[in-house]
């Protein structure tokens, strides 16, 4: 019943939206185009200019600026502009410009959670009141978990791409509103959240310390379950589906070496791999002072890595990174794929929150991180623990982080038990430790990510290989920061 009403709501809303002439959800405008459209309208373009000024200052100035009447007014207007719903494509022309346009509005939104919630209500609940008369809304007064369930039930209709996208949009916004509510927990949600097991509470808690939102909405278009991707990974050893690629007797087995071979035999792959390898392993000549001595040029290395993963097709690049390893030598090769000594490690190990902060001050990194959170977020509602069981989406967003300030990597050369981590720690973060841990655990204890990587390495859809972690490891820190 709930399911039916929600779907009804979704479609009614959609019809409503298109009748009102605002951009449909199915194909969101890209933000470069959206800002062009905005600039053609005098009201929109002047508010857009104001908004950019609101965001120009440093962290502290910015929140003061954003709270001002002028900035709030500009934001109100812009929320009804095409810029509000725009998205970017991965690897598109002018990607950076697109992302900057996206954040020029959404940074204002995320800085003030209550406002985001109000915007959500105004746009999606009131609009619906106007348009229909009967359909039920997502029940505002229900507990967040129940609402989460409602949303997830609808998520099962994923065969239909269009409706998936629709549901996804509602999901994003509802999610935002759930977080908004949790920021000021009312008695019901407070009690219900602390007592439950299994539910990954940190998926909701989205606490807000230091004015930063825990999870942000990805500026990228959702990654659909790519049939092509799915088949290719099965075809790679069709006869051996769900069997280790090393089961062929007598032949020496090293899928990571095979991946290197495949890359070396392809001109583009070989050229770009050689390029990042030589940049990343080249020592920078020591400067006049010894303190300046760096093992490599990190920035150039990361750029070369990004180019490699952007320009080489995933059929060649992913096997290098996610190959299946029978032994330690192989796993060490896999760990070294991205030349971690230069791209991943640093002499100084920052706190994970510092790292996140650095990342969020850069439009590209911020976007890739939000995309990772969106696509690799563990969910208790699917078999694989990935959103929509979409491994492809998770791997793609993981690869998107490589070459950014939050470049993840294998933390050791253990062939069987994969652990991914960032180069950071949460030691000594004091009262922020739970938040810090929660952030890092999305890498270190992420069942979805782990399953996606293992499934790719085996060239199958996983099946028996699903990592099963004790429920306790899915849980966030014992004391979610929500309760204070």
């Amino acid at each position: 019943m709930v399911l039916i009403t929600l779907i009804t709501l979704v479609f009614v809303l959609d019809v409503c939206d298109s009748e009102l002439g605002s951009p449909g959800w199915r194909e969101p405008l890209d933000c470069v185009r959206a800002s062009e459209l905005c600039n053609q309208n005098s009201q929109c373009s002047s508010r857009y200019r104001i908004m950019r000024q609101c965001l120009s200052g440093g962290d502290k100035e910015r929140s003061a600026m954003l709270a001002s009447k002028e900035c709030q007014g500009a934001l109100e207007v812009l929320q009804d502009s095409p810029l509000y719903d725009c998205r970017c494509k991965r690897g598109m022309k002018k990607e950076l410009q697109c992302l900057q346009n996206y954040w020029s509005i959404h940074m204002g939104l995320t800085e003030d959670r209550d406002d985001a919630f109000r915007a959500f209500k105004r746009r999606y609940l009131n609009a619906e009141d106007v348009c229909r008369g009967t359909a039920e809304t997502v029940d505002e007064e229900k507990e967040p978990e129940e609402r989460q369930d409602q949303i997830n039930v609808t998520g099962e209709h994923r065969e239909d791409k269009a409706s998936t996208y629709l549901i996804y949009s509602v999901y994003q916004r509802t999610w935002r509103s759930i977080s908004a509510r949790l920021n000021q927990p009312h008695p019901v949600s407070k009690a219900s959240l602390s007592g439950r097991d299994i539910k990954p509470q940190h998926q909701y808690h989205a606490d807000f310390q230091g004015g930063e939102e825990f999870y942000e909405t990805s500026p990228y278009e959702p990654i659909h379950f790519s049939e092509e991707f799915r088949h290719a990974s099965i075809i790679s050893d069709s006869s051996l589906t769900k069997v280790s690629p090393c089961s062929e007797a007598g032949k020496p087995c090293n899928p990571c070496l095979d991946a290197a071979k495949a890359c070396n035999l392809n001109e583009t792959c070989k050229r770009l791999r050689s390029a990042y390898n030589s940049i990343c392993s080249k020592a920078v000549p020591p400067q006049s002072s010894l303190a300046n001595q760096e093992p490599c040029s990190r920035k150039r290395c990361q750029k070369a890595l990004r180019q490699f993963f952007e320009r080489v097709s995933w059929e060649l690049s992913y096997p290098l990174l996610f190959c299946f390893c029978p032994d330690q030598a192989c796993a060490e090769r896999r760990r070294r794929t991205i030349v971690p000594s230069c791209s991943h490690q640093e002499r100084h190990k920052p706190s994970c929150l510092e790292l996140r902060h650095t990342c969020r001050s850069d439009a590209l990194c911020r976007s890739r991180l939000a995309d990772f959170h969106m696509n690799c977020q563990m969910t208790p509602h699917t078999v694989t623990s990935c959103p929509h069981d979409n491994y492809h989406g998770c791997l793609m967003s993981y690869v998107g982080l490589i070459g950014s300030d939050v470049t993840p990597n294998y933390s050791d050369s253990n062939p069987s038990n994969i652990t991914i981590s960032l180069w950071c720690s949460c030691r000594g973060t004091g009262s922020q430790e739970p938040e810090c841990e929660a952030f890092h655990r999305d890498f270190t204890h992420n069942t979805c990510l782990k399953n996606a990587i293992q499934s790719f390495g085996y060239g199958s859809e996983g099946g028996t290989l699903l990592a099963t972690e004790a429920p306790s490891t899915i849980l966030p820190p014992a004391q979610p920061p929500v309760i204070s």
Binding site: N254, N264, L265, S274, N277, C280, A329, R336
Partner: protein, 106 residues
């Protein structure tokens, strides 16, 4: 029977492991080695005919003992700039000018 026409100078390919290149690196990574091979008879100039004659008798008559190649050679005219690989001790190496890019009779 007609004599088989010799293959002209061209780029050939061979898959090898880095260890097999003979450069002293120990790595099982496979690379594509491109090299130049084939005849250059069609590219002989008057210079080559003269040189062939000179090495046989001409130089001796003039009291010289020089040795000169008596025809164009099939050699790389350009190399692939660089190639990098991971050795069996998990260290990266970059090597230059290992593989031919173009061949010519020079």
């Amino acid at each position: 029977k007609r004599a088989r026409r010799p293959k002209p100078c061209s780029l050939r390919e061979l898959e090898l492991t880095v260890s097999e290149l003979g450069l002293g690196y120990d790595s099982d990574e496979t690379v594509l080695l491109r090299y130049c091979s084939g005849k250059c008879t069609a590219h002989r100039q008057n210079y080559d005919i003269t040189m062939e004659h000179m090495t046989k008798t001409g130089f001796k008559k003039k009291g010289r003992k020089d040795k000169v190649s008596n025809g164009p050679c099939c050699r790389p005219t350009a190399y692939e700039k660089e190639f990098s690989f991971l050795d069996n001790k998990s260290r990266y190496h970059t090597i230059q000018n290992v593989s031919a890019k173009n061949c010519g009779c020079v």
